[in-house]
Symmetry: C2
Subunit: 79 residues, 2 copies
DNA sequence: ATTAAACAGCGGGGGCAACGCTATAAATTC
DNA sequence: GAATTTATAGCGTTGCCCCCGCTGTTTAAT
């Protein structure tokens, strides 16, 4: 029996937004602008903006990059 | 100054493989075949095989699906 | 009040990798 | 050796992400 799809989809949406907020929060805590962090991670600045605003679902490769540059351990899903 | 790219890339590759192993480990621990899990997650069975063998980098959306169906909290990156 | 500079949001075209789908072979278990 | 499970390959589609550009907001200096 499949997990309830409606619930799953909303959890996915919720987590995407939560992750964006968390990235922004940690970035600001570290004192980085989007541009500074983008340079450190060697990715595009507008991409960071879109990620922080939950515009799309990033790959784990990129989440690892954030984790390294921000020195922060992300949890999927936080319980 | 950008983070050392060589190191970053190897960490990304390492994590991709570690994540695949972890997914397989938890799946077997739960007693699911790849097909059973694929049905639960409403994704393709061959995709699960490829992910467990680190053939590509999954999106966070999919990691959330795994987390829900396996009832397991993934950490990026584990410290 | 005006200007400049720093920062962030967002739209859109384009390339390519993620993922679906199907089939086949290989491995594992009985 | 049959049945089940898994690996892998090829091809098509979708969407992540790059890259460029413009806008809006804020702050500071003049």
């Amino acid at each position: 029996m499949p997990t309830d799809i409606t619930s799953t989809e909303s959890q996915i949406r919720d987590y995407r937004l939560k992750l964006g907020d968390k990235i922004r929060q940690v970035r600001e805590q570290r004192g980085y602008s989007q541009e500074q962090l983008a340079d450190m991670m060697d990715i595009n600045r507008s991409t960071i903006s879109k990620i922080e605003n939950g515009k799309f679902s990033i790959t784990v490769d990129y989440l690892v990059r954030f984790s390294i540059s921000l020195d922060y351990e992300f949890k999927v899903i936080e319980r």
